[in-house]
């Protein structure tokens, strides 16, 4: 993110980014995030938890594009996550397609669903938008429940275990948790790079302008609905990718993947880590899942504790864990 082409490089950089550590973190956000993800399996209590942080972190990053940067509170992102997972599972289990084709299909299917739900919801605003996305995602949930010959209904989708994959000619044992983690991490890394690109792009500036002031953005010449729809779709694509990763990881797609609990969890993770920051959603997913992992060891009512922590954050640290840390460093 150097601005050598700018006629006022120093001033432009100073105006665009807060100085010091925060600026460095921003400039190196993709490599630093990938580095953190590389270390994750070795610092967390279990490899399974690391994979979950990877998957839910990626959903939260995708969700954050819409919520944190475009300012749209969707309660229906479980639909795209689930659509990606189901499409991947069905492609492998029922059509016998290779895993990488299944991943591509999952992403495309989830993205297409995002276009449809986006088209139906984007013209509503505020709480109505949230409710429409919630209702439409529940529709997807019930459709999956009814279409049990395809989806396995209440039992979830099973029977598509991927045991071995070939990656650029190298055979990888997908039942080995560490190997699986790093394969999935490649997908997450690509998605993170894409999200970072989007945020740095003119389109990223446009969605921020819409978040800041929709009326003014429209008066400035932005087609607000079209911009929102594109953001909604990109966000859905990322969540669908996380869904395909989840299907490959678990070798089962539980029906609960599509439930609105999942949507709610995505919102909580994003807020907990810090909406509107690049790395925040990962921190949120990590904090949420780590709390679940640790607290559920001594009580089955772990949600009471996690819920209380969430409420405290919303009330006292609305920028979330990472957002608060960043603004504390930036001295704002």
């Amino acid at each position: 993110m150097t601005s050598q082409s700018s006629p006022l490089p120093v001033m432009a950089a100073a105006a665009a980014r807060p100085a010091g550590l925060v600026a460095t973190l921003t400039a190196w956000r993709v490599p630093l995030t990938i580095l953190a993800l590389c270390l994750l399996p070795w610092v967390l209590p279990s490899k399974a938890l690391a994979v979950n942080v990877l998957i839910y972190g990626l959903i939260a990053v995708g969700y954050n594009l819409l919520f944190g940067y475009t300012g749209l509170l969707s309660f229906g992102h479980a639909a795209f996550f689930g659509a990606g997972a189901y499409a991947t599972g069905i492609a492998i289990g029922q059509f016998g397609l290779p895993w990488f084709v299944a991943v591509a299909l999952g992403v495309v299917f989830g993205g297409a669903l995002a276009v449809v739900i986006g088209l139906l919801s984007i013209r509503t605003r505020g709480i109505y938008f949230s409710m429409v996305t919630l209702a439409l995602s529940q529709l997807v949930y019930y459709a999956a429940l009814q279409a049990s010959s395809w989806t396995g209904g209440e039992n979830g989708l099973r029977g598509f275990t991927v045991a071995k994959i070939s990656l650029f000619g190298v055979a990888v044992d997908f039942l080995n948790p560490v190997a699986k983690y790093y394969v999935l991490m490649i997908f997450a890394a690509l998605a993170l790079w894409l999200v970072s690109r989007i945020l740095n792009s003119p389109f990223g500036a446009a969605i921020e302008a819409i978040r800041e002031n929709e009326t003014r953005a429209r008066a400035c010449g932005y087609d607000v609905e079209r911009t929102k729809l594109l953001s909604f779709t990109l966000s859905g694509l990322i969540c669908a990718l996380a869904g395909t990763m989840s299907a490959l990881h678990l070798a089962i797609v539980p029906l609960d993947t599509l439930h609105y609990h999942t949507s709610g969890m995505i919102v909580m993770m994003t807020l907990l880590g810090g909406a509107g920051s690049f790395f925040g959603p990962f921190v949120g997913a990590l904090a949420f899942l780590l709390m679940e992992d640790v607290i559920s060891l001594w009580t089955s009512h772990w949600q009471i504790v996690v819920g209380s922590v969430f409420i405290l954050f919303v009330l006292f640290l609305p920028k979330g864990i990472w957002g608060t840390a960043l603004s504390w460093r930036a001295g704002r």
Binding site: A209, N213, R216
Partner: protein, 251 residues
């Protein structure tokens, strides 16, 4: 006489049973300053909203440079050359002053581009800096917009409109809430902008309007009741009765 830049024909706007604007016909020549006055509720803001595409007119038509604007979505207006400011300051509060204007300039260059690095569009940075210089905000370019003084925020809003290089600039009460010093600066700015631009403004400060405008339109109960030079309007008995007589600023 030049061809009109903007021609408004029999324009009306209803909200349910309420008629906010009715039968307004007027045309506007290039490079003139026209003020629109009238008591509260006269339909000035509705007229502005119709001219800037925020509200479609219920009746009548608007032609800009000969092109009928009926059915044009609001975001297209600025691309055609009509930009506006709002009565209540309307900026991007959490963005930097420079980014406020840069993102407005970007709407003409790259709206859906997700691949270019936005810091690598130096011509937009330059455009934004030129617009900020025009309104006297070069010193504040790095500041967060919400921390500017009220008068500076109003100037920033004009910079946002200016960067679109509009032929027609609509200013909705540009001096609303300003003290005498800030108002003086704003008047000087509008005079400077008027040199090569068509400006329509809604205002309440009569002294300012009389000095600034080439022409004044008076709205009352949604109808156009007078249209002429400041001297003509001052002499108009109907206008004096409905409007000027009530205004303490006019003496």
């Amino acid at each position: 006489m030049n061809a009109p830049l903007l021609a408004v024909e029999n324009v009306g706007r209803r909200f349910g049973g309420f008629v906010a604007l009715e039968g307004v016909t007027a045309s506007f020549e290039p490079n003139k300053v026209t003020a629109i006055i009238g008591p509260n509720g006269a339909g000035k803001s509705t007229f502005f909203n119709v001219l800037s595409g925020v509200l479609p007119p219920s009746t009548g038509s608007i032609r800009f440079k000969g092109q009928d604007l009926t059915g044009t979505p609001q975001h297209r207006f600025v691309h055609l050359g009509i930009a506006r400011s709002y009565q209540i300051t309307n900026i991007f509060p959490d963005l930097s002053v420079h980014e406020n204007v840069r993102v407005a300039a970007q709407a003409f260059r790259a709206r859906y581009d997700i691949w270019t690095d936005r810091s690598r569009l130096p011509e937009l940075d330059d455009k934004a800096d030129a617009a900020l210089a025009a309104v006297g905000l070069s010193q504040q370019r790095g500041a967060t917009a919400k921390f500017l003084a009220h008068g500076q925020q109003r100037a920033l809003e004009i910079a946002i409109a200016l960067v679109a290089e509009p032929e027609l600039l609509l200013l909705d009460e540009p001096t609303a809430g300003m003290g005498p010093e800030e108002t003086k600066d704003m008047v000087a700015l509008i005079e400077k902008l008027a040199a090569d631009r068509t400006i329509l403004l809604v205002e309440h400060k009569m002294k300012m309007i009389l000095g600034l405008s080439d022409r004044i339109l008076v709205l009352h109960h949604g109808r156009l009741i007078a249209d002429g030079t400041p001297q003509h309007i001052q002499a108009d008995s109907e206008v004096r009765r409905v409007y000027l007589g009530q205004n303490d600023g006019y003496a």
